[in-house]
Symmetry: C2
Subunit: 509 residues, 2 copies
Amino acid sequence: MTGPAEAPLPAGAGLAGGVGGPDTLEPLLAVVLSALRDGAVRRDGPLPAGGPAAVAEGLAGLLAPQSLLPDTGDPQALRLLTEALAATAADPADPYCAAHLHVPPLAVAAAADLAASALNASLDSWDQAPGSTSVELAVLRVLAGLVGFARPEAAVGVLTSGGTESNLMGLLLARDSAAKDSGAAARLTVHCSTAAHFSLARAASILGLGADAVVPVDTDPDGRMDPRLLDWGLADTRAAGRTPVCVVATAGTTDLGAIDPLPVIGAVARRHGVRLHVDAAYGGGALFSRRLAPLLAGLGEADTIGLDLHKLGWQPIAAGVLLARDAALLAPLEQRVAYLNPEDDEGAGYTSLLGRSLRTTRRADAFKIAVTLRTLGRDGLGALVDRCHDLARAAAERIDAEPALELTAAPVLSTVLFRYLPARADPDRVNAALRRRLLADGTAVVGRTVLGEGPGSVRLKLTLLNPHTTTADLDRLLARVRSAGAEMEAEAEAENEAEAAQEDQESNS
Amino acid sequence: MTGPAEAPLPAGAGLAGGVGGPDTLEPLLAVVLSALRDGAVRRDGPLPAGGPAAVAEGLAGLLAPQSLLPDTGDPQALRLLTEALAATAADPADPYCAAHLHVPPLAVAAAADLAASALNASLDSWDQAPGSTSVELAVLRVLAGLVGFARPEAAVGVLTSGGTESNLMGLLLARDSAAKDSGAAARLTVHCSTAAHFSLARAASILGLGADAVVPVDTDPDGRMDPRLLDWGLADTRAAGRTPVCVVATAGTTDLGAIDPLPVIGAVARRHGVRLHVDAAYGGGALFSRRLAPLLAGLGEADTIGLDLHKLGWQPIAAGVLLARDAALLAPLEQRVAYLNPEDDEGAGYTSLLGRSLRTTRRADAFKIAVTLRTLGRDGLGALVDRCHDLARAAAERIDAEPALELTAAPVLSTVLFRYLPARADPDRVNAALRRRLLADGTAVVGRTVLGEGPGSVRLKLTLLNPHTTTADLDRLLARVRSAGAEMEAEAEAENEAEAAQEDQESNS
């Protein structure tokens, strides 16, 4: 019997799994750790200095096509590329990297995720993921209890790539509960606040709902959906011959961290017979905190809920979750595929999670969550949430006390909106420019957004998700913002004066 | 100025990133490696013995709600859960785990993925992913060259969660190039072979295309789309007042590994003015092999292409890729979001990849691919592909030589379809049962599918993706299949005899 000539495999072909995997991984992990150290030292701050051009240029040699895919392999690749990646990262573990819902992951979660990589379970069939299937179900069970569903034992869910996918699924399930044909889909509507995440409009477009399917509901001055306006909007929509299929409440808007009044919204949705999806991608993590959990009262009334443990949960990306109050709600996703979940195999107990996800191949993202939940416990995770909330309040207090800065609102969760107040120059221009200056200097990553529309709407944002950040760090970070602001203000004024002088000259000539 | 009481953080709160991250990770990684070793030894084979009930029961204590989320954390969680995960894995690094397109990941890729976890870049804005943005663009550039686009410099792409998402995106882009309103979407059609992946029908349903939007095209006896039937199907569809928007060719079907005749299909699609998407999730990796790359001739004529480097590419999940011939094809995905990619920031060079993906938060999956490409080089990756192809041919030869087994077809890539031939018992029942027996024994993970319909359609499948597997392993694996087959055949015959005896008795009484 002939067979492949069993010639030696190429260098670098060692596997992460099996009994021998750990021995193969060990020296490679040492290379990664050492390269991460060297890269972080080389970066020397929250992000590399020099802005996009400098970063791209610095990497150009390493990333040129012939370097990236040479004919013959390069055993130094792991060291070279890892050091380069660390040297060019915006590292959320640095206290001055505080722009986005972009967390510094817990080491224990990153270590657990290595196990998921090495074993490479895929959740689309039991025979690719025996234990991982149980782990995912157990994590979902715990989270279903945490959100306060009335009958957590009836709930189901699935891991997602994040709030965007969870929102897509929430809307898909609502759509398919209402309409089987796409003609009818054009008349369906989804109701959410004007501060809801942009992924809802995107989801509606993916799902082929009409261009005006998303009906925005105005917010109160704190950025929370006005339930009375929701009520009227639902009635008006129906009166106009369209069919509301979903109300989406937000528990933690991206900018203000505002939490829609869930109990009242739930009551309005129920009265109108419309499904309630809650986008708790950001705010859901507050459930770990005994201090903040009450803000989410009413969450358990939702039909479907999205949570992101890669936000307040400190997981490496991705760790999104969709929960459904009842298994029947996920029915539209059911799939029967001969090579993955034949009926007689499922009958024999070989459970497949294929029919819960929009994906087929799917990484065991639940594993790192499981390890984190048990390592820290609810009190430990709650302490991290509380620390970030404390940091946000401390930052707000400092901003409020500083005449050159204007606080937009008291923080709800862990974001703080504010702006630098120039004496004469255009504040929007100065704030946008000061943020870019900090990025280009490599000294801080501060967020930026708009609140409302038109002139004066640009805001800076701190998203404080690093529990190791200290108040001294906040003082230094805000001092940098102020000094960059003063610098940009001076530049803007100098430009204005130069323009004015030029105009004078032109009008005099 | 008050601030958070800087009390010590809870145990387990150490971060993976920053200058100190590697020191925090180091002991945790040692725990993971040791637990992976212990778990693999405890598992003692490709998967745990005992089937789903035994696996669930073995994990029940560890995964009970109070164990998984106790009030107080447990520093042993990482070790306990990792060992349990390894002990209950279906580990593709074991030569007897050969069912699915479920690869044993390369250690170098898993190690690189740890760096992605630790730094936690998110690709939705430059200021969360400075270097990672460059890495993703570079990986896409190399792959655009590899697939043979005529103008690779004009091509763009994005990392995806896998073929399912790539197919969804291919169809979404085609839909949005044709119809802006959902009324029109109901008349759009997508044409693919009957052997194309089920995710296409799912994508059509997500996108709100009509229930009969996917028009199947019959295959030749080798499982490849018949381009003449495609041609007629496109013409008939238009004649019926509907609008074909996309032809989807498959380069590597899940079961047979069949590659549709891309050059002819491309010509037919062009003649009809219909977009061509190629699902090369499985077959795309053959491009690394100088021997097999010619099978993919014509791939570069596609408008969009899906590749999965977590298949022939040996990446930990996920490593999907969508490539588009021209940047303009991705225009429907554009997004302008105040907090992520304001126009003046993009103008200043702060590139955001937000507008290329269906996701918002997105892990730096390109990094592990970059490290793998450079570590192995094209020749190294090609050697791994060739080895798997050799293994498939060797398995086919052995099956063909064995009277108790029936080979379905000569392998194209690395899958082998076959079945056990019982003398009298129902072959479908015996083959399904023998596979479950191997799973329950914990001795082998063999795939199962159906070819055609009705009685006699059940097939077993080997998907040979472990380049470390030897021909001696194949011999042992096939011997196990034969002995499980004989056992199941005997059981089925005994049951049949018992039933016959009972019937006799009943008819005699």
